[in-house]
C-alpha cells in the first residue's frame, strides 16, 4: 500500500503532466519503492486505481520496461553490463567472478536474499568498461579486486 507521504508525492508528480496517464512511469517507480523493490499485482492494481487506468494497461506498460521487476529480487541487485564495449574489456570474466564469489548463476538470487546477479545491456559507461550497476549506483573500471571490495562492503 502507498503511504500517505507517497500519495502526496504522486499527486505532485501528476501535476507536472498534462494528463494523468503520463504519470504512469513515475508512479510505477514509486510503487516499486513502496513494495520492496518489485511490482506485485497489487502494486499495479493500486497504481491503476490511482491513475484511473485499466489494470491491463498498467501491466502492459510495467512488463514492457526491464527496470520494473516482476518478481522479488535480492536486496542488492547487481547488473553487470555485457554489451560489446564491456565484453571486450572483460565483463564476462567479471560476471563469472561475481557468480563464483556469491555461489550463484547469472539470473539467480543468493539463498539469504541479499544479492541478485544479472547481465545488463549497455549501461552507457563505455569509456569506463567493464562496469556494473548495483541498485542506483554505477561501479566502473572493474577488476576482481575492486569487485571484492564492493561486494564485501555490501555484505556487511
Amino acid at each position: 500500500m502507498f503511504t500517505a507521504e507517497a500519495k502526496e508525492q504522486l499527486d505532485n508528480i501528476i501535476k507536472k503532466y498534462p494528463t494523468k496517464k503520463a504519470a504512469l512511469l513515475p508512479a510505477l517507480w514509486l510503487a516499486q519503492e513502496q513494495y520492496g523493490g518489485w511490482l506485485p499485482a497489487d502494486a499495479m492494481r493500486e497504481v491503476a486505481g490511482y491513475l484511473e487506468l485499466p489494470p491491463a494497461e498498467v501491466e502492459g506498460v510495467a512488463t514492457f520496461y526491464t527496470m520494473y521487476n516482476k518478481e522479488p529480487i535480492g536486496k542488492h541487485h547487481i547488473e553487470v553490463c555485457h554489451n560489446i564495449a564491456c565484453m571486450v574489456r572483460g565483463s564476462d570474466d567479471i560476471i563469472d567472478y561475481i557468480g563464483a564469489k556469491l555461489g550463484i548463476e547469472k539470473g539467480a538470487t543468493t539463498a539469504d536474499g541479499k544479492f541478485t546477479l544479472n547481465g545488463a545491456e549497455c549501461l552507457g559507461a563505455c569509456a569506463n568498461a567493464p562496469c556494473m550497476m548495483i541498485k542506483d549506483k554505477y561501479y566502473e573500471d572493474l577488476t576482481p579486486a575492486k569487485v571484492d571490495a564492493i561486494i564485501d562492503d555490501l555484505k556487511k
Binding site: K16, Y17, P18, T19, K21, A22, A23, L24, L25, P26, L28, W29, L51, G60, V61, F64, Y65, T66, M67, Y68, H82, N83, I84, A85, M87, V88, R89, A120, E121, C122, L123, G124, A125, C126, A127, N128, A129, M133, D136, K137, Y138
Partner: protein, 438 residues
C-alpha cells in the same frame, strides 16, 4: 596533432561545476540572459549560421526543427530532451549531465524561449540515476534563483522543466517511442511521415513538439555566447563545430573527448592513448554499435570523422561512440553479442524487426556453436535486406547495418567457423539456371 578547442568541455574539470554558483562564475547563464533579450528569429538564425546538426545520431539540422513551430503559437507545445542515451558505445551525455547539468538546463531555456514553449521534459534513461539526481538538483537550484518558473530572469516568460525517468528500454531513445513513453505508454514507435505528421506538427499529447538530444541542446549555450559564425569556423562543409566522442574498447585512455568534426580518426586514436598495450587493432566502429564497422587499416584510420565522410564510406557518424577492437576480438562473436542485444530490445511492434532480429540472433548462435550452414551468410544478408526500411523505426536497421558491415569486411571470419561438410547438409538443392540461351 592539431589544437582541439574545448567548447562544451571548457570547464569540464572545474570542481563543483554542477553547482549553480560555480557554474555562474564560469560564464554560466550568460547565454540564457542574452537569448532572452533576442528575438525568436534571431536565435534560430544564430543556430542556422552555426551549422548545428543533431548530435544524437541522425544529424538533422537543428534550426529546421526549431523553425517548425509556428511563430506566436499560443496552444500548448513542448520541448523534449532525449537523454535516453542507450546506443552501445556512447556515454557522452552521461558525463555532460553529471558534470555540467546547468549547461543542459541553460540550453533548455534558450531553446524553449526560441520556440516559446513553456514546458520542457528531459527524458533520461532509467539506469542514469546519478545524472537524474544531478539534473533534478540543478533544476531545483535554477527554480530557487528564478531562472525557471514564473517570469524567468525577471521577464514575463514562464518555463517549467520536468526531469522524467525512463525504465530500461533502448527503444525509447527513438524519438517517437520516447514520446509514447513520456505519455505513459509502452515505448513503441509511431508512424513516420509521409503517412503521419512530424513531431513538430503533432508530437507529445498531439501538440507541436521539438525533440533534441542532450548534446545538441547543450551546444546551443556556447553558440549563443560566441555567436553562430564563430562556432562555424570549426569544421568544414556541412559538418561544423565540435562534437563529443566516447572512445572505448581497446585503447589506453578510453574516455569522452571533444573534437572538431572532421578530425582524422587516427588523431582521435592517438589522443585516446593509442591501441591498448600496443596490440594491433583489427577494426573499429565509428558511431555507436548500429553503425557499420571499418577495418583498422590506414585507409580508414585516415578518414576525417564527420557526417559526410562516414556516410560516403558506408557508415555513419551516429552518436559519436567510437569503439576500437584489437586482433583478439572475433568479429562473429562480437556480432553475436550485439544481435542478442537488438533482439532483446526490439519492441515487437513491427514484424520485420521483431522476427528479423530474432533470426539474426539464432543464426549467429548456430554459427558460433559450430552448426553453421553454408547458406547461412546469404540468409543473414537476405534477412538484413528484408529488415532495412521496413519498420516504423530504425531499430531493425540498426541491427542489420552492423551485420552488413561485418560481412563486407570480415566474411572470411564467418566462413572459417562454418564446417566445410555443411555443404552436404543443404536441404534444398539450388535450382538449375535456365540454359535457353544455348
Amino acid at each position: 596533432m592539431s589544437e582541439q578547442p574545448q567548447i562544451l568541455f571548457k570547464y569540464r574539470n572545474v570542481e563543483n561545476y554542477s553547482n549553480i554558483d560555480v557554474y555562474s562564475q564560469h560564464e554560466g547563464y550568460t547565454a540564457a540572459k542574452k537569448a532572452l533579450s533576442m528575438e525568436q528569429d534571431a536565435i534560430i538564425e544564430e543556430i542556422r549560421i552555426s551549422g548545428l546538426r543533431g548530435r544524437g545520431g541522425a544529424g538533422f539540422p537543428t534550426f529546421i526543427k526549431w523553425n517548425g513551430i509556428p511563430k506566436n503559437w499560443d496552444s500548448p507545445h513542448y520541448l523534449v530532451i532525449n537523454a535516453d542515451e542507450g546506443e552501445p558505445g556512447t556515454a557522452k551525455d552521461r558525463e555532460l549531465m553529471n558534470k555540467m547539468p546547468h549547461m543542459l538546463v541553460e540550453g533548455c531555456i534558450i531553446a524553449s524561449w526560441a520556440i516559446r514553449a513553456h514546458s520542457c521534459y528531459i527524458y533520461v534513461r532509467g539506469e542514469y540515476v546519478e545524472p537524474i539526481n544531478a539534473l533534478r538538483k540543478a533544476v531545483a537550484e535554477a527554480y530557487a534563483k528564478g531562472y525557471l518558473g514564473k517570469g524567468i530572469f525577471g521577464t514575463s516568460f514562464d518555463l517549467d522543466i520536468v526531469v522524467h525517468s525512463g525504465a530500461g528500454s533502448y527503444e525509447c531513445g527513438e524519438e517517437s517511442a520516447l514520446m509514447s513513453s513520456l505519455m505513459g505508454e509502452r515505448g513503441m514507435p509511431r508512424h513516420k511521415p509521409p503517412s503521419a505528421p512530424l513531431p513538430v506538427i503533432s508530437g507529445v499529447w498531439n501538440s507541436p513538439t521539438i525533440i533534441n538530444n542532450v548534446e545538441t541542446i547543450a551546444t546551443a549555450v556556447p553558440i549563443i555566447n560566441m555567436g553562430g559564425a564563430e562556432y562555424a569556423k570549426f569544421g568544414s562543409g556541412r559538418s561544423l563545430g565540435t562534437k563529443l566522442f566516447t572512445v572505448s574498447g581497446h585503447v589506453n585512455k578510453p574516455a569522452n573527448y571533444e573534437f572538431i568534426l572532421g578530425t582524422p580518426i587516427r588523431e582521435i586514436l592517438e589522443t585516446a592513448g593509442g591501441p591498448l598495450n600496443g596490440k594491433p587493432l583489427k577494426f573499429f566502429i565509428p558511431g555507436g554499435s548500429s553503425t557499420p564497422m571499418f577495418p583498422a587499416t590506414d585507409k580508414f584510420l585516415d578518414l576525417p570523422l564527420d557526417y559526410e565522410t562516414m556516410m560516403a564510406n558506408g557508415s555513419m557518424l551516429g552518436s559519436g561512440g567510437l569503439m576500437f577492437f584489437n586482433e583478439d576480438v572475433s568479429v562473429p562473436a562480437l556480432m553475436t553479442r550485439l544481435m542478442h542485444f537488438y533482439a532483446h530490445e526490439s519492441c515487437g511492434k513491427c514484424t520485420p524487426c521483431r522476427e528479423g532480429t530474432s533470426w539474426l540472433t539464432k543464426i549467429h548462435d548456430r554459427i558460433m556453436a559450430g552448426g553453421g550452414r553454408h547458406e547461412d551468410l546469404d540468409i543473414l544478408l537476405d534477412i538484413c535486406n528484408n529488415i532495412g526500411g521496413r519498420s516504423f523505426c530504425a531499430l531493425g536497421d540498426a541491427a542489420a547495418m552492423p551485420i552488413q558491415g561485418a560481412l563486407k569486411h570480415f566474411r572470411h571470419e564467418y566462413e572459417a567457423l562454418i564446417p566445410s561438410q555443411s555443404l552436404s547438409k543443404r536441404i534444398f538443392a539450388p535450382l538449375p539456371l535456365a540454359t535457353a540461351a544455348h
